[in-house]
């Protein structure tokens, strides 16, 4: 399989998933979209192994790693500042508190995930 064909199949799957998601919102059914996403991911993973060309090399991983680290830093700082601002304004609007809490826990989860994965790669390589 060529990379171009894989990308074409990926686009088709994305369109199908989008249609199913929009229909699921209308009919209030969220099991089918989850199943479709899981099945599509498995199909794409299987197809990716059949690609003869090189999809990603060390340069992609290096740039991806630097980009991911910067993205995490920007997100964490933005989320932390937003959380404090929203929490301080919770008395003006009670809806701010759950948003601030969600931001706080999302940032914590991201930090924990990053630490665990970094520790794993540090040990393995």
């Amino acid at each position: 399989m060529t990379l171009k064909k894989y990308q074409q199949i990926k686009i088709v799957l994305v369109v199908i998933i989008s249609i199913i998601f929009s229909q699921a919102l209308i009919f209030n059914n969220f099991v089918i979209p989850i199943v479709v996403v899981v099945v599509s991911s498995l199909i794409l993973m299987r197809l990716r192994r059949q690609i003869k060309e090189i999809v990603a090399d060390e340069r992609d991983f290096t740039i991806g790693g630097r980009s991911a680290l910067l993205a995490i830093q920007i997100f964490s700082w933005t989320a932390a500042i937003s959380m404090f601002v929203l929490y301080s304004l919770r008395e003006t609007n009670p809806n701010y508190e759950p948003i601030a809490t969600t931001l706080a826990f999302s940032t914590c989860l991201l930090m924990i995930l990053y630490s665990v994965i970094f520790h794993f790669y540090n040990k393995v390589k």
Binding site: I54, A56, D57, E58, R59, D60
Partner: protein, 66 residues
């Protein structure tokens, strides 16, 4: 960093695509290597030197050595 990949590639009549396939990277990586815009890992530098039938120090020249 200065590289002489293009010169050695021309000597062996290799295209960027062929060299990329030989060392297991994408063509874009070879382009960035030739332009000196990407610092390869030791393994990649070794693989490129081996593919071009030369040594790493003849292929990659760091700016301090100019």
């Amino acid at each position: 960093m200065i590289t002489k990949i293009k010169e050695y590639r021309a000597k062996l009549n290799l295209t960027q695509n062929e060299l990329a396939e030989m060392v297991g990277v994408r063509r874009e990586t070879i382009v960035f290597l030739e332009q000196g815009k990407y610092m390869p890992s030791l393994k990649l530098a070794y693989d490129v030197a081996k593919a071009l039938e030369t040594k790493i120090e003849k292929l990659f020249i760091l700016d301090e050595e100019k």
